[in-house]
């Protein structure tokens, strides 16, 4: 076929396009992923029984704020990474900020506690449950974010995959926080931070295979 014929075909009866499609699709996907993750956490694990007591609420707020910080920053990056050439203009280091804040708070709380409490503060009661739950709950929001990025056109697939994984991890951590009764900063830094990083690495590894267009 002649290229001129292809050009003629494509420009015949051209439809206008929605310029906000990329951002809107991503936002809808993340919102859907968050609702599904909350549902999975509620049905699969149940919310913590002391949810409305002030002590629980403070740590719930810390966990959710950390997760929202991660999701918000990575969503801002992903809206760029989802576009051709979007990876050129950004240095994604800012996304480490929520992790840095949590690690600093964890260090402060360890520093002000006696050494004998450290192990309990870091390991908590349910470290294994946390280690498994966040990546498992992240699967559904990850699938939805990948679907949204596929509608766009990323040109750095592992980086776009990593950020989809990061968002999924953050969304999942937010849902898991409603169940988790381990209330200490070191626990959040190690197990929440660690599992979200794990989701990011998984996303980076899967990106090139899932996002090709």
């Amino acid at each position: 076929m002649k290229t001129d014929d292809l050009v003629a075909l494509l420009s015949t009866n051209l439809e206008p396009v929605d310029r906000n499609a990329v951002v809107r699709t991503l936002c809808v996907a993340i919102a859907t992923g968050a609702i599904l993750a909350l549902g999975i956490a509620f049905v699969g694990l149940g919310f913590r029984p002391d949810l409305t007591t002030p002590g629980a609420l403070i740590f719930l707020a810390v966990k959710v704020a950390f997760a929202i910080g991660v999701v918000g920053l990575s969503l801002a990056y992903l809206t760029r990474l989802a576009r051709p050439g979007g990876e050129r203009k950004i240095s994604p280091l800012l996304v480490a900020l929520p992790f840095l804040v949590v690690v600093v708070l964890a260090a402060i709380s360890l520093g002000s506690a006696p050494r004998a409490h450290w192990e309990r503060m870091i390991v908590g009661d349910e470290w294994l449950e946390c280690l498994l739950s966040i990546p498992v709950i992240a699967i559904v929001p990850f699938a939805v974010s990948i679907w949204a990025v596929r509608k766009a056109a990323p040109t750095n697939l592992s980086r776009a995959g990593a950020f989809a994984g990061l968002i999924a991890g953050g969304v999942s951590a937010m849902a898991y926080a409603l169940h988790c009764t381990d209330d200490s900063m070191p626990f959040i830094a190690v197990w929440y931070g660690g599992t979200i990083v794990l989701c990011t690495l998984a996303g980076a590894a899967l990106g090139p295979r899932l996002l090709r267009w």
Partner: protein, 185 residues
């Protein structure tokens, strides 16, 4: 910013609003630039330039299918270049060529030269269209080849108007995938 960038960006913005004449002029100019770009790349890689036209058409189709990802606040050249380069690397990977030799290039390179010697690609779109599901085939033929309006096409194909639009988009996407498979040597 070059005058070419300003001119093409204006055409792109009009195209996003649905201006077919602007779009035709844009794709026409872009395909000439892409032709020169791919020929130069293939020559640098020691490959023949006969495959360049296939890749030009793949890139033009990709630009069409992904035009909603263009951010109007950004210049057009880097966006076109990113697609062109992505499709080049995808093509070489499909054909098991070494990617180590693909030089890093500047965005401007994609617009650097103009090559209007349009050639035929190696595939026949009519034949490939025969492999699409009926609804997609009918929608593309009616709207894109015969120039019917969406409403007329809906009547002819027995589909709702929104389904005609969906079928055109999906059909072109499937065609692009078929072409990619076809041009694997």
């Amino acid at each position: 910013m070059t005058t070419l960038e300003i001119e093409l960006k204006a055409l792109m913005l009009a195209s996003l609003d649905g201006n077919a004449a602007s779009y035709r002029s844009l794709l026409d100019q872009l395909s000439r630039r892409l032709r020169a770009y791919y020929k130069a790349k293939f020559a640098a890689l020691g490959r023949g330039t006969s495959e360049a036209e296939d890749l030009v058409q793949e890139a033009v189709l990709a630009i069409h299918l992904k035009r909603h990802t263009y951010d109007p606040r950004e210049p057009l050249t880097p966006w076109v270049h990113a697609i062109a380069r992505y499709k080049l690397i995808d093509f070489l990977r499909r054909n098991r060529a070494s990617l180590a030799d693909v030089p890093i290039d500047q965005a401007d390179e994609v617009m650097a030269n103009d090559d209007h010697r349009g050639a035929e690609s190696t595939y026949d779109i009519r034949r490939l269209m025969g492999r699409l599901p009926k609804g997609m085939q009918c929608a593309i033929e009616a709207v894109k080849l015969d120039g019917l309006s969406i409403a007329e096409a809906a009547k002819r194909c027995g589909l709702s108007e929104s389904l005609v639009k969906v079928n055109i988009h999906r059909g072109l996407k499937t065609l692009a995938a078929l072409i990619a498979r076809e041009t694997r040597t």
